[in-house]
């Protein structure tokens, strides 16, 4: 088969695609020609696939929750488990397919054009994109945003490993700023139509605001109870489990923690970053709560609520830990994570225009990470320079 795809072969225009599938199916036989003769069995394929695996609990729960919220909103009570899961699966499948086809398509083309191997980075971005978007996001928007993000955030910088911003989050930010009406408010977080005859139709007048959306518009000088789509109060337990309206895969703190456990056990995500994001978030939420004021109703939320609600936990575990866009130095990771947590809560609490701050906080810290690293590296450089002066 291979000769067809080599230079001069009939199908040489698909060489990188062939290579991509070949190396996916069979471990490359390339042996080392210089340097160490043996290599660790860990490679970037496995690294990326483990992150995808860690996202599977969130994906599955997102499917269930989508069906669950739809059934509640359609006024049919709680539907049968498998039917609700199937509904959610059918709702998210087109988005997954669109994100992967558009993103991987661009990756394949660019790899062929550059004459490089296909890089695996988008395996993770492709599953992240549907997970962080509201379920009602139109497919064409996802396609446009994904294409923008992959081309202008990743490929123009040189591909996986060279990007400054997290690709999936820029996709989300692009949608948020380009199509605000479709991405926030109380409409897009509940699936509204029946799919292939499964589920009911949600009335047009129905609104299903996310908990943070509700809190942001609260008036008065105390906390009102947060309500679910049926109008009943949502318990802390439901918030932790994730049975609340929200972006597809980020509602369940439990599933996010399962994902975190996988990433930390395999050593792929940095525990320093996750820990310090939560520490920063808790610290800022505590300050906000101590100085709670009716001007900023989100400040009435308890520390636990702040960490459970919205995209905070998801961002801490899956977004902040992207090794390419996070701080790379050990000391830098603590600073990066802590500031990220603080800023996420500040944006969320003190800016009533944005009910959620995790996305912007991660993007802001992505931009600042090189500066943090620069300072840490500079310390090392100064230490070395001082040592040289003392000796001479």
């Amino acid at each position: 088969m291979r000769p067809y795809f080599e230079d001069g072969g009939r199908l040489h225009a698909f060489r990188s695609v062939y290579d991509g599938f070949d190396t996916f199916l069979f471990t490359p036989e390339t042996t080392s020609h210089s340097g160490t003769h043996i290599h660790d069995a860990m490679d970037s394929k496995r690294t990326m696939i483990i992150v995808v695996l860690a996202l599977v609990p969130c994906l599955l729960f997102g499917m269930y929750n989508t069906g669950y919220q739809h059934w509640l909103a359609a006024g049919q009570g709680v539907g049968p488990f498998w039917t609700m899961l199937l509904y959610g699966f059918l709702a998210v499948l087109p988005k997954l397919v669109v994100a992967y086809v558009v993103g991987l398509g661009i990756e394949f083309v660019v790899a062929q054009w550059r004459g490089e191997e296909i890089q695996e980075g988008f395996l993770v971005s492709g599953i992240l994109i549907p997970l962080i978007c509201p379920i009602e996001t139109p497919l064409w928007m996802i396609a446009v945003a994904t294409a923008f993000s992959v081309i202008f955030v990743k490929e123009v910088f040189g591909g996986t490993g060279y990007n400054i911003f997290n690709v999936a989050l820029v996709t989300r930010a692009f949608l948020f700023f380009a199509y605000p009406a479709s991405m926030s408010g109380d409409k897009p977080f509940i699936a509204r139509d029946s799919i292939l005859g499964i589920g009911g139709d949600v009335p047009d007048t129905f609104t299903g605001a996310t908990p943070l959306g509700q809190v942001a518009t609260m008036a008065g000088d105390a906390m009102h109870p947060i309500t679910g789509v049926t109008g009943a109060e949502v318990s802390q337990w439901d918030m932790f489990l994730g049975l609340i309206p929200g972006s597809f895969g980020e509602t369940s703190t439990l599933c996010i923690l399962i994902g975190a456990a996988i990433l930390l056990f395999t050593g792929i995500a940095s525990w320093r970053i996750i820990l310090s994001v939560f520490a920063g978030g808790a610290f800022m939420a505590w300050i906000a709560n101590m100085t709670a004021t009716p001007t900023y109703p989100v400040s009435f939320l308890s520390v636990g609520d702040q960490l459970c609600l919205g995209g905070f936990a998801f961002a801490a575990v899956f977004m902040a830990t992207d090794p390419v866009t996070a701080a790379r130095t050990t000391a830098g990771k603590y600073i990066y994570g802590f500031l990220l947590g603080v800023i996420a809560i500040i944006i969320r609490t003190y800016n009533n225009g944005y009910p959620e701050g995790a996305m912007l906080a991660v993007l802001l810290m992505n931009a600042l990470a090189p500066l943090i690293d620069y300072c840490v590296v500079q310390c090392n450089i100064n230490r070395r320079a001082r040592r040289a002066r003392l000796n001479s």
Binding site: P28, H37, S270
Partner: protein, 452 residues
């Protein structure tokens, strides 16, 4: 005064095929051929002093540095020059000598070596000078340089490395004489690293030198790592590094006036029937060493002169390369078809990642092959290198500075302190499979060309 170094960072690889038995009772292997490889002496521009058919004695100068004619490399054995091999663009590849079995040896004058100048000449003419490396640049010590300090590693922590304690403990007299001679060459200190708490034999304290007791995983035994944790090289300074075997050889020469070119070689690796020690001569041909010792297999194998991290891949017709006293044979792996290897949960896979069950088999000895086990990528994971490089260096940033050929940053980030071998484990663990040792070597080469 002795120093204790307890290094935490690093990694001991559990590979099958460690040499058993005692170096003292090693079987003697007579080499059919012996070779000197100019590539083993970086920094020198060597030209041959002999031609095919010439008769040489042990200690006859065979190669000479163009820029410093006093620095030469001498024959380890008496015999006839069989070939002066040249490669592309007439690059001198090696000089092959066929031993004639005689004991003809050059005797060097050991009297009147009482000052620095005479000690230098003594080492340079005997060929032992070229076995001393310097930092910066990890090249053969510049004859014009005066080292701030000298670092000797009398231990080898590399995978399957020979037990230096057992080999060197019996040469206390030589080590002491070697240290005494080196003391004439520096106003600084001679640091001698040895393994802390060695069971079999212990290298005795040496008068005039500071003993460094080292504990910790590889690369704790690298001379550069020892230097970095005691007194790192600053810009404008030079240190010398050499291994314990070279120190003992210097001592032998100072005591007897003749070269000691015998060497105990550990024949190791998963493809060796009975990994053991043998006694031969430096530069011995690989054929003589491995003949009859390899497991008969149908798959390809890789013979490495040295250890699996920094050694040279050699063919059957290759030779033992300096400074290694080890031969490792592992499967090549280019004939293995592995379906979806990235998803493997096989306990046979060696990895630092907890996603492989093999990681938890603490006593298991692995049989890694020479595959990269993945594609080359840009640097993705962070902090991987730092965990196996016990130096106060921002490894990732140094690598990036080298890749961007930014001399100012390379200097600021400490390139003068490192050698490619210090990055060998980082290269092993790198999930992006970056050729770090090659990058560091090219960086050092580039820097030297630009600054000299």
């Amino acid at each position: 005064m002795n120093i204790t170094l307890n290094l935490k960072k690093g990694l001991d690889l559990h590979i099958a095929g460690a040499a058993t038995g005692s170096p003292a009772t090693a079987e003697t292997v007579k080499p059919r051929l012996v070779a000197l490889t100019p590539d083993d002496f970086p920094g020198l521009t060597l030209k041959p002093l002999v031609k095919e058919g010439d008769t040489v004695a042990q200690g006859t100068a065979v190669l000479q540095d163009k820029h410093h004619p006093e620095v030469c490399i001498t024959s380890p054995v008496a015999g006839t020059v069989k070939a002066v091999e040249r490669g592309e663009r007439r690059k001198l590849e090696r000089i092959v000598i066929e031993p004639d079995g005689s004991n003809n040896a050059v005797t060097f004058d050991v009297k009147n070596i009482d000052n620095e100048d005479s000690a230098r000449k003594f080492l340079q003419s005997s060929g032992l000078w070229s076995m001393i490396r310097q930092r910066p640049y990890n090249i053969v010590a510049n004859p014009e340089s005066t080292p701030r300090d000298i670092f000797v590693n009398a231990l080898d922590t590399a995978p399957l490395a020979p037990d230096m304690d057992a080999i060197l403990a019996s040469q206390a007299k030589e080590l002491a004489a070697g240290a005494a001679l080196l003391a004439k060459l520096t106003r600084g200190t001679i640091y001698i690293g040895r393994r802390q708490g060695s069971k079999i034999a212990k290298i005795a304290d040496i008068a005039g030198a500071t003993m460094v007791d080292i504990k910790g995983p590889h690369p704790a035994g690298n001379a550069g790592i020892i230097a970095s944790n005691i007194k790192p090289v600053n810009k404008g300074e030079t240190i010398w590094t050499l291994d314990g075997i070279t120190l003992a050889r210097i001592g032998h020469l100072a005591l007897n006036g003749t070269l000691d070119t015998d060497c105990i070689v550990a024949v190791t690796g998963s493809e060796v029937k009975e990994p053991t020690y043998i006694k031969t001569i430096t530069g011995c041909d690989i054929e003589s060493i491995v003949e009859g010792r390899l497991i008969k297999t149908t798959h390809h194998e890789r013979i490495i002169s040295g250890n699996v991290l920094t050694g040279f891949a050699v063919k059957n017709d290759g030779f033992l390369r300096f400074p290694y006293t080890q031969v490792t044979v592992i499967p090549e792996g280019d004939d293995v078809v592995e379906f979806m290897g990235w998803a493997s949960l096989s306990p046979k896979k060696m990895s630092t990642s907890r996603s492989f069950p093999g990681h938890f088999l603490l006593k298991k000895l692995f049989r890694p092959d020479a595959r990269l086990l993945g594609g080359r990528r840009a640097m993705i994971m962070s902090g991987q290198y730092d965990s196996v490089v016990p130096m106060d260096i921002m490894t990732e940033y140094l690598i990036k500075a080298i890749l961007s050929k930014n001399i100012e940053n390379m200097e600021a980030l400490g390139i003068y302190e490192v050698a490619p071998e210090d990055f060998a484990l980082a290269e092993y663990v790198c999930t992006s499979k970056m050729p770090l040792q090659t990058i560091v070597a090219q960086g050092l080469e580039y820097l030297r060309k630009e600054l000299e």
